[in-house]
Symmetry: C2
Subunit: 463 residues, 2 copies
């Protein structure tokens, strides 16, 4: 399509969208700008307009208009993604789903819930509080559940409860031609045809727009114990993690923070933790099983040079601790004013975690950049938060070099270039290295689902 035809198509599409949505379509600069960036270092790329959809049928009507005129559509939730997923690199319409925030059906007796895509995970757990149930997936940020599904998010609880891959039972999605499909059922398992649910989970808005989700719920554990465990060395902390996982201990959370992360968290979250390699852990179960798990973990940890643990059993102390962990990214940014974060995200088989982390630390030692290290290490997943100024070519090229080294190492250890953040625009180059000929198959799926390339173009693959 030529530039003139593109402009004409865009204007025609926006006119039709305006007629459909009234003041729920906006081209206001500030709103477009806020919808053209996520929480990462990736530059803002503004959409031409922002639409606030309220129903699945309305999303379908919007997509039909965009399809007719070849206008790109970028789904938008809380904007908390970290690889430029929401930026409008080819212009188009940002489709904001946050007004689709209804909790449609709580099936307590089946441990499932049906929600609209714009429901935030904290709002869901607030709503569920009186049922004795909760939704465990917790990426830190208060993201929308649709966005979490689209990026196959996970976070601190995944070591025990799995990721969005394991916890989405069924979806409603609008496809690139405006048709509406329902995938999966409320049955716990099925062998009926291709697994469209798992195909849409992690597709980052490039195959369809998720508008509703049926999610698994879990009983709030009878007892919960959280603790902070200091170590003499990163190696000791990592080895304790490896042994814990290999022993089969059903730990609910096990997070590493290096001394720099602790320093940043102390400052940001007003804590007074010793600035040493530290594990944040949590156990879920009955009173007896939590006590047993904590004891078994303590024995493992002390074998690897752990100091005295601080345990928090009261809900408010636990909340304070996990808030601090969740804010580690914001704490790191606050620690380095003027810098942005290149948040890496590799995941390796648990037996290779020590090599992956020590290699990363060795790389950092030779660098002028600072980067706290944190991670969901029970899954072999960790992040190096590279603090850098993306407008400074020296910073950017050094951060890129360190990131490339980290990913190459993870792949050589049998791991992946992204454990939970997704490809977005930031990791496109790694996809090919990781999947080889599989990328051709992914492109064939994209072509079959979205032949005009209107769904979040420039993400996962270069357009």
């Amino acid at each position: 399509m030529g530039e003139a035809a593109r402009t004409e198509g865009r204007e025609a599409a926006l006119a039709e969208l305006g007629a459909l949505l009234g003041d729920r379509l906006t081209t206001a600069q500030a709103i477009r700008e806020a919808h053209g960036r996520d929480e990462s270092w990736h530059p803002v790329a503004m959409p031409d307009a922002v639409a606030f959809a309220e129903t699945t049928e309305e999303v379908a009507a919007i997509i039909r208009i965009c399809a007719a005129h070849g206008l790109p559509v970028i789904p938008f939730g809380a904007g908390t993604s970290l690889e430029g997923h929401v930026s409008a690199v080819h212009g188009g319409l940002s489709l904001d789903l946050t007004r689709m925030d209804r909790i449609l059906e709580v099936n307590a007796e089946d441990l499932d819930v049906r929600v609209e895509a714009g429901v935030m995970r904290k709002a869901l757990n607030e709503h569920l509080r009186d049922t004795g149930l909760f939704f465990p997936i917790d990426p830190g940020a208060n993201a929308t559940l649709g966005g979490m599904a689209a990026t196959r998010a996970s976070g601190t609880n995944a070591v025990r409860y799995g990721t969005m891959r394991e916890n989405v039972l069924a979806l409603t999605a609008v496809m690139a031609d405006g048709s509406i499909i329902h995938t999966g059922t409320r049955a716990k398992k099925s062998s009926a045809g291709y697994d469209l649910t798992r195909l849409l989970v992690g597709s980052e808005g490039t195959l369809g727009i998720i508008t509703e989700l049926t999610l698994r719920l879990y009983g709030i554990p009878e007892a919960t114990r959280s603790g902070v465990v200091p170590f003499q060395s990163i190696e000791g902390a990592v080895d304790a993690v490896i042994e814990t996982i290999q022993s089969g201990l059903p730990i609910a959370r096990i997070e590493i923070l290096d001394p720099l992360s602790i320093r940043a968290c102390n400052a940001y979250s007003k804590l007074t933790l010793a600035e040493v390699p530290t594990l944040f852990v949590e156990f879920h179960g009955t009173e007896a099983s939590v006590a047993e798990q904590a004891e078994r973990f303590a024995a493992i940890a002390s074998g690897h040079g752990a100091g005295a643990a601080e345990w928090a059993s009261k809900a408010e102390d636990r909340t304070r601790l996990w808030e601090a962990r969740h804010n580690a990214y914001y704490a790191a940014l606050a620690y380095a004013p003027g810098k942005k974060g290149m948040v890496t995200d590799v995941c390796v088989p648990i037996s290779r975690l020590a090599e992956a982390i020590s290699g990363t630390l060795a790389d950092l030692e030779t660098s002028f950049l600072k980067a706290p290290i944190v991670g969901h290490v029970g899954d072999g997943n960790f992040h190096m938060l590279l603090l850098m100024d993306p407008s400074d070519p020296k910073d950017l090229s050094e951060a890129t070099r360190l990131h490339d080294l980290m990913v190459a190492r993870a792949l050589s250890l049998g791991g992946t270039s992204t454990g939970e953040h997704g490809i977005g625009e930031g990791k496109i180059k790694f996809l090919e290295t990781e999947h080889g000929a599989g990328v051709g198959v992914m492109r064939a799926i994209k072509q079959a689902f979205d032949p005009k390339g209107i769904l979040n173009p420039g993400k996962i693959f270069s357009a």
Copy 2:
């Protein structure tokens, strides 16, 4: 393609395949016949030839020849499927993978294993015995792991360990053009692109030929306790199952057998169980947790009219018990000489299980056909084994009527037409009812992956 061109293409393909494979290509009638049927009632449809492949590269070479000449390819493992998955309804080549039976890599420290697709599940567990690890997915039949992945199999342990969907980490597959792809990694989670692993799992050989799998392993539990629990009524047994699952008890197996199933198993497996509604249960854990689980379960069961349980802690007693359960299908066939089994397979949300089973029993009461009922009821999954003579139109139409009623009821209760057997050729008509517009999306994937339609044509979709 006209008939003459098809014949010519087939002959050219078989000549090239013969040159490639030597005596590992056969057109012997008995072997073709054995490869044209599974364990179900579906009629034999013989392939034109059977190839015994030994490596992934050889599978790729075979597929390239078949693609060039438009010859259908039907992957074949143990032949234990139940919906006609392996029958050559359009002729072509049966690709037998059972010689690809090498266990390539046991990573005990990461709880994973890499195997060729033809490895049988019992052989894998034999091989693992000394490592203290096991692969839990257990559909009853001693199937190949490739076949289990292709049908998204599950079985008795799924209530605790999940299905093939949750337990395949990575795959090697040959696509319809002969290219080889590797999906997934050994990392426990990933957000790197589309989930090709989950797309191939359950695709029944229609999207690609699985040649290698990386599977999750689990530590053999410290303690295991199995038991047989008799009930006064089916309703009591089902209500005990529902309450057990809703209470969050991490039961490893919970299986229902109705009085007719018990009678058949007593005869076939030389047991002396009372012919009443019965649950077979199993608990995994530490000694303490198994005792606690068994106690909690006993309290629930006795609240629903359970009689005295018989517990088996010795390995040989447990094995005998589960062998009997696994042989329930063969026992039912032996109970009705001359009949075949139409094995239904619905799965519903756990809260609707009582309705689903009592509705099925009410249907059966008005019928002249006999059908034992067994099921992995902890997942809401159960089977009515309709004993019938498919060559008798009255039997076949009555079985079809009962099957249709059962599926319609499951769908109306929020369930699925197949919990674990797959669509094959037997459930094509239900796919559309269950997935509606989603079937169009599935067809688009099939078209993108296999434009010539050579991979297991006539399965999942009518060709």
